[in-house]
């Protein structure tokens, strides 16, 4: 399968939720699990440990999530670019 077609498929799978579920809240599944836990325990469960540090706001949290994605993406991009360049230099030299 050609790469552009794969990207198109990814886009479709990611857009379908917005079409069939127009007014959803798009909350995290983790938070829903928290609600389920409280249902099963009759609301008695208290987490026995709290995060030692929490991002002070949603903005800071999204900053740190972006940083995580960026760090990974730099390496993936470096890998692809480095080897593409290297391969094409080798091709030219082989001529």
């Amino acid at each position: 399968m050609k790469t552009p077609i794969i990207f198109l498929l990814i886009l479709v799978v990611l857009l379908v939720p917005f079409i069939i579920n127009e007014n959803a809240e798009w909350g995290g599944a983790d938070a829903q699990a928290e609600v389920a836990i409280s249902e099963f325990t009759g609301g008695t469960y208290e987490p026995w440990f709290s995060p030692i540090w929490e991002p002070p706001s949603g903005e800071i949290e999204s900053l740190l999530f972006s940083l995580q994605a960026a760090l990974g993406a730099i390496i993936v991009g470096y890998f692809i670019g480095y080897h593409k360049g290297k391969n094409s230099v080798e091709e030219v030299q082989a001529r």
């Binding site: 799978v13 990611l14 599944a29 469960y45 990974g72 993406a73």
Partner: protein, 227 residues
């Protein structure tokens, strides 16, 4: 899929530590060995780790109207097997527990077990089986990544179900509830993860098929054909 900080009571949280820590340790040993055998493999290790970093940071919308994230472990398990994948995931999970309050230190063992070990292990078995029956490489990669992703969330559902059995119906009832929250939400994301992994794997075959052959991921004959 991250079980939040403090949300696993004893004995579960430490049982999962007992389960996960040795695997991560073994993964560290395996990683050293693989790199010693061929230092060129380091770049693939970096790529696999980076891939987990990117994919597990993306919270994507699902048909259920909620959001969850892929795991990115499919590529790593294809290249290095489950133990090294456990090591890479454990680093990501530590980052997220410390800096994002996503997941947690007390639930780290359980989260490593689902995202780093058991999910990827199931994916790995799918990969081995696919290769045995000579499935098309892209399809094998897709299935491996998608199944590893989905299995991770099934494991999370089991982990929560055994820790929080419903008053009526017990573990099975809670499993169903957690399964709907996590695993059903995850289906489209697993498909996305499978597709993205195919893209990156195609690049790998195109650019460093020599390393893949060396690591016995692909056969020499497959070096040229990526379609």
């Amino acid at each position: 899929m991250h079980i939040m900080e403090g949300f696993l009571p004893g004995p579960w949280w430490y049982l999962w530590f007992v389960f996960s820590v040795p695997v991560v340790g073994y993964g560290l040993w395996r990683m050293k060995k693989v790199v010693e055998e061929n230092p060129n493999v380091k770049i693939l290790l970096a790529l696999a780790g980076a891939f987990v970093f990117v994919l597990s940071s993306l919270k994507l919308p699902s048909v259920t109207g909620s959001c969850s994230h892929p795991t990115g472990t499919g590529l790593s398990v294809i290249l290095f097997g489950p133990s090294v994948t456990a090591l890479l995931s454990s680093i990501v999970l530590l980052y997220q527990a410390l800096l994002l309050a996503h997941g947690g230190l007390t639930t780290w063992g359980a989260n490593v077990a689902s995202m780093g070990i058991l999910g990827p292990l199931v994916g790995w078995l799918v990969f081995i089986a696919s290769r045995k029956v000579n499935l098309n490489m892209n399809l094998a990669v897709f299935l491996t990544a998608a199944v590893a992703d989905l299995a991770t969330y099934v494991v999370t559902s089991i982990q929560l179900a055994v820790a929080f059995p419903a008053a009526t119906g017990g573990v099975l009832t809670s499993f169903k509830a957690f399964f709907v929250i996590f695993a059903v939400t995850q289906v489209p994301l697993a498909i996305v993860e499978g597709l993205v992994t195919v893209v990156i794997f195609k690049y790998l075959v195109e650019l460093r098929s020599d390393l893949l052959v060396h690591m016995n991921v692909i056969k020499p004959a497959e070096e040229v054909s990526t379609e």
